[in-house]
Symmetry: C2
Subunit: 198 residues, 2 copies
């Protein structure tokens, strides 16, 4: 078949996205081509700028377009508590609850020997550097309640406890085996309220 | 929450796509931001060019980046038979079967009084102009086998028959009430083989 090259390339690029198969990519491509040119430009620009303008915060590791990020520099937030999460999207999930008002630390991964990811491959060293300042009294470990998340939390808690910092773990209000990102807000709130020292 | 503006804009643009809700848009956005910059550029460019370079063929109405489209100008295809479909994606579905070797005519819609779409709002006039050349011996009506598709087929067949052109309808191998785009290739092939004059 005489496939149009620019369509084929678009379908190919779209099908690389997570959860987008060949058929959905095709559907999306035809939809995009049918849109007004202005709307397509907005989409393309948003994608390009989203990548270009967003970097990691040099302090907490979260996505940001200024450095340090707005959360790290927010004067209304408590500076004595740090919540440790796996991904930027977990920060987003916790922020939606509007219950937690401390700082964050994004690990960008969890310890996973199966995948060859050790403690040095995620941002644990950067967390230790932040704690060395002595301003932080509590670290809330909010990694996912799955095997790797629990192992990472245990590993970090063993590192931190000797420093005299309180280490807590979000409560098992978050369903075991689940993903933090998809937890509803009430459950996430319970998880924060019920956090316990480990 | 201090939402990053470029992320918010990206999520907003992505959530306008069909079948992409707020949560999937967020997931896609975070995925895109985590990609290497080159890959993101490829995606943005593919989207932009997909729209910019693709137009409607002035003859058949299908998507193309040259005019007339490669199918209309293909010397190996039969010029005496035209297959009439609703959408460019239906052309794509039929081409995948590699069973049909004639020309196409894309209506860009079907007659739908409920939605205020009459015969003049779709490319029926352009079809009549093509038939006036006298080169075409058969028109295969391959609109969807739903109420509007059947009505459109009936309408067009009544217009064409007086011109002495054979009018056929793809057989009901295509499941009634279904969508042509999602029909498997064997069923589509049966539907072509079993087409009957109406």
């Amino acid at each position: 078949m005489a496939e149009i090259e620019s369509i084929a390339r678009l379908v190919n690029e779209l099908s690389k996205l997570p959860g987008v198969g060949k058929k959905s990519a095709q559907r999306l491509a035809y939809h995009i081509i049918s849109l007004p040119e202005e709307q397509v430009r907005d989409l393309a620009v948003a994608i390009f700028n989203g990548k270009k303008q967003v970097h990691y915060c040099s302090v907490c590791g979260n996505f940001t377009d200024v450095d340090p990020c707005p959360i790290c520099t927010d004067h209304d937030r408590r500076k004595d508590i740090i919540c440790v999460v796996k991904d930027p999207r977990d920060v987003n999930a916790i922020e939606r609850v509007r219950e937690y008002h401390g700082l964050y630390h994004v690990l960008h991964g969890v310890i996973s020997p199966m995948n060859g990811i050790g403690p040095d491959d995620i941002r644990i060293r950067e967390l230790m550097t932040r704690l060395a300042s002595g301003e932080v009294n509590e670290v809330v470990l909010a990694t996912n309640p799955d095997v790797e998340g629990e192992a990472t939390a245990t590993y970090i808690s063993r590192l931190i406890r000797p420093m005299g910092v309180t280490v807590t773990r979000i409560a098992h209000g978050v369903p075991v085996g689940g993903e933090l990102e998809y937890t509803d807000e009430v459950t996430l709130m319970r998880a924060f309220e019920g956090r316990r020292e480990i």
